[in-house]
Symmetry: C2
Subunit: 350 residues, 2 copies
Amino acid sequence: MAQPTDIPVLDLSGPNRHVLLVRRPTGIPQTEDFALAESPVPEPGEGQFLVRNVFLSVDPAQRGWVSAEVNYSAPVALGTPMRALAVGVVVRSRDPEVAEGDCLYGWFDWQHYAVADKTRIVARARHALPLSAFAGPLGINGLTAYLALTTLGRPEPGETLLVSTAAGAVGGFVGQIGAMLGCKTIGMTGSDDKVRLCRERLGYAEAFNYKIAIGTPDGLSQELIRAMPEGIDVFFDNTGGPMLDTALRRMRVGGRVVQCGTVSVPQWTPPPMGLRNEREVLTRRLSWSGFVIFDHAPRFAKAMDQLAEWVGDGRLVYQEDVSVGLEHAPGAIAGLYAGENSGKRLIRVV
Amino acid sequence: MAQPTDIPVLDLSGPNRHVLLVRRPTGIPQTEDFALAESPVPEPGEGQFLVRNVFLSVDPAQRGWVSAEVNYSAPVALGTPMRALAVGVVVRSRDPEVAEGDCLYGWFDWQHYAVADKTRIVARARHALPLSAFAGPLGINGLTAYLALTTLGRPEPGETLLVSTAAGAVGGFVGQIGAMLGCKTIGMTGSDDKVRLCRERLGYAEAFNYKIAIGTPDGLSQELIRAMPEGIDVFFDNTGGPMLDTALRRMRVGGRVVQCGTVSVPQWTPPPMGLRNEREVLTRRLSWSGFVIFDHAPRFAKAMDQLAEWVGDGRLVYQEDVSVGLEHAPGAIAGLYAGENSGKRLIRVV
């Protein structure tokens, strides 16, 4: 079995350091909702293991994990470490199937050390790629792009694929994978730099800055018509909101809408209003589906093999936005929603 | 091949009588948008045939067929007969595959006689059932109920199926078919009489009057919780609007929403507003699809055999609302949207 290429030499002196959730956010989690804390390095019990985290992941979905609203996971309790994915190295194990030195990607939270059992593992890092790749192109971002596009978007060669947050952590992979699958890929993104990135590095046939487009009356609709006069076969949407409303009205008959995020809508309580979309669903015979990555766990291993092959070939490129030090974590989610990052946001804690 | 059981003796004296579209409606077509007219009975050309209509169909979709908005069929031209489905008998034929005496269901419009070719046939009436059944349980209403439910709703035995316009021309079949497929079926309808009909005749395990439910704050939501504490697996929606918004918030994870009509929304220009639903699609992993019956023509013959078997067995019952005389057609669509009818609305013109 292959190993990651850059496993660091670890200093295992304590203490453990955590980022705790200390206040329940009502919208996007802010720096002040978190606090840094320390405690002794824990000991694994029978059937458990101790992981030293190397990369902590910062994900838009973390907004949902701390929300009191009905959501797809139980909210993080106040006073406990912030739920997060991380890539780490096993430094002690009392589980015979997990060995010291194993590299794992899983639910190890925003902290230096985690005691966990196998239910917390999302995937084993077993390809000869840098460790951070397992939190990026082979992590939930790459898996989401690949599995949401192929299972719900089902693009055919020659079809037109529109992607929102086209240069983002997921969108950047969707554009490249769509192009490899033979689609005409079009990206919507939020700055001229990201437009360039989409065109030059991320496989998009065309990209535009939606902030300029929505600055004029009917501007976004006109931009969609210009870039895709034929209409949209697959819309891979990470934003929701008015961009979604506009794109739905440019879908072709039989089009597929993959709802993978709703990052443009800052609050869901009280419920925001928008255009009624049911007649678009009906007359265009759309298939509009929601994608949550952990429903698809049985497909991860095979998808990771495909993604690792593309990354290894240099056909699937990825961007990272790495900060060093746990103290960068508390403000990192708000920064993501503000569009500060370009590519996958990680916190390196080694 | 079997024949319908009640083919009438036809008086073939002229003239032809039509209902013409004379004004472009902006919302629901009203009586004044139509005019009655007469002309000589036409002669079929080579490859054509002449049909004497017996039953004219009145369908909610006719609203869309006269609308100038982008829609799924070209709008009916002003001054021409109103587009409609009808069941008729061939009285002259210059097509070797169509014989005098054949009973057909097709695009024969609101008139006594139609010259048509084979492209206008939706289905041949070839089961031993009353002629009107071919415009009802075996027509687009029954076909829509059966094919939309089985291809997009995909209910599993034991699942919970909610149906709006539950006693309507399509909904009345959905409830019965859902029950035959092993679902717990729940109907929403607009009067206490229709609630009784749903419970006593249309296979619903439970039904309620949404007009009473929505008269109190949060009333519809409470009613859905009472009838389906477990949540909704399949929502077969003919209404759209606030009922849809409320039901989406009671869907179970992995639920399917079949958008088959939007009858509760009177106008789409300017676009009406409603609750943003994309987060429901995402977090509940819904699959929300639009159904238009004519996409599914290759499945009609097999579906009609199944429907005819159920009708013949008495397991699938149907209600009709028949007016006699062409003069009832002009006001019939508006009446449908006002909920006047109970069951399939037909105009008998023989």
